[in-house]
Amino acid sequence: MEEGAIIKHNIKKAPKTGEWRYMKPEVDKEKCIGCSTCVPFCPEAAIDMKHETRDMKQKNKKPKADIDYEYCKGCGVCAEVCPVKAIVMRKK
């Protein structure tokens, strides 16, 4: 038995919900226009806007959607809301 009833938040212990996934979203970085529409709708907060290379950043190019597969559950919401269909769901 643990004493007390305090649970400290420890993200390292968080269940890796990526294991749930049976469809995998893939971002076509050429197609992605960097609009961020998909970001706040992802229920797992698994999408970040990232520069693929330092070169891109230097050239002032827009960052692109980048998915954290440790937590992505593969729901397909991001692919659905993307205005340019830059995300494709593939069988894992």
Binding site: T17, F41, A46, G74, C75, G76
Partner: protein, 311 residues
């Protein structure tokens, strides 16, 4: 992992893939400019975010029971006020409750009413997924007319739920709180603005947020945003706010009711209904009159809200 979005509510929670409420919760918490304390009624959000020994909450969080989240936050808020007065705590803390529709429209209504009436400084957020989802889709007083649930099954003698939805916004408004608003997880910019206003309000404020449940409404996991959009595009879920105490929130005396987003050409209600398995039976010919009735209800409620905007 998105750092900004997981500042208050982490990844790793176990809501179903494609659930509607995580985006709503994160958007609301993202508007907090002060430290916050969260109380949460029993339900899917609570169960999926606090599976022992884990917690998705990075803010102080308290779960007591299904029926008393508003009473719980009342006590926490009063304790804070007492400590503040004694100088033991400095600075402003804001208190937020999250409750499902079952926990708000039904079982927690009495404690919500008490907390609103006593005037505690808190925001109550109801994420409305139209039923008792965590226990397998039993009807609540928020379940739409005509929806098939475990306790209102559709069949030969029944077209699903035969009672109309309770109008919670009107019940909350009867308490004359400074700010109450209806929002929708598909409209995050609108939700953001409303969350900001609710958090800035001194005293009680209320948000009723439309939050699809892919599991029990029966639609594909990728569809919650589309389904929720249709709820507003058909006027099934109007986006509006009520400032009951003139001037103190926004809009003042003349703008008691304000519609924050109005579809230019509302779509027929069938467009919303046909996206979900819980309404599938309504598309049998014999149930056509039910769809007509729903359309009438939607039209009348929307006209009522419009009439209250004074426009």
């Amino acid at each position: 992992m998105n750092k900004e979005l997981t500042k208050h509510f982490a990844q790793g929670h176990s809501s179903c893939a494609g659930c509607g409420f995580p985006a709503a919760v994160r958007t609301i918490l993202g508007e907090a400019k002060t430290p916050i304390v969260v109380a949460n009624a029993t339900g899917c959000l609570e169960v999926t975010s606090t599976i022992y020994p884990y917690s998705a909450w990075k803010v102080p969080y308290i779960h007591s029971a299904f029926e008393n989240a508003a009473a719980t936050i009342s006590g926490v808020e009063r304790a804070y006020k007492a400590l503040y007065r004694k100088g033991k705590i400095k600075g402003r803390i804001k208190f937020i409750v999250f409750g499902g529709d079952g926990g708000t429209y039904d079982i927690g209504l009495q404690s919500l009413s008490g907390a609103l009436e006593r005037g505690h400084d808190f925001v109550y957020v109801c994420y409305d997924n139209g039923g008792y989802m965590n226990t397998g889709n039993q009807r609540s007083s928020a379940t739409p007319y005509g929806a098939a649930t475990e306790t209102t099954p559709a069949g030969k003698e029944s077209f699903g739920k035969m009672e109309t939805r309770k109008n919670l916004m009107e019940i909350v408004n009867a308490h004359r709180v400074a700010y109450a608003a209806q929002a929708n997880v598909a409209y995050l910019q609108d939700l953001k603005k409303k969350a900001k206003k609710a958090l800035e309000t001194e005293g009680p404020s209320f948000l009723n947020v439309f939050s699809p449940c892919q599991n029990n409404w029966k639609f594909p996991t990728s569809q919650y945003v589309n389904v929720a959009k249709l709820a507003t595009e058909t006027n099934f879920w109007p986006l509006y706010e009520i400032s009951a105490i003139g001037g103190s929130a926004y809009g003042g005396e003349n703008g008691k009711y304000k519609i924050t987003h109005e579809p230019s050409q509302p779509k027929p209600i069938a467009e919303f209904l046909k996206t979900q398995g819980r309404f599938k039976h309504l598309f049998n010919e014999k149930n056509n009159p039910v769809i007509d009735r729903i359309q009438k209800m939607v039209n009348e409620e929307f006209a009522r809200i419009v009439s209250l905007t004074g426009e």
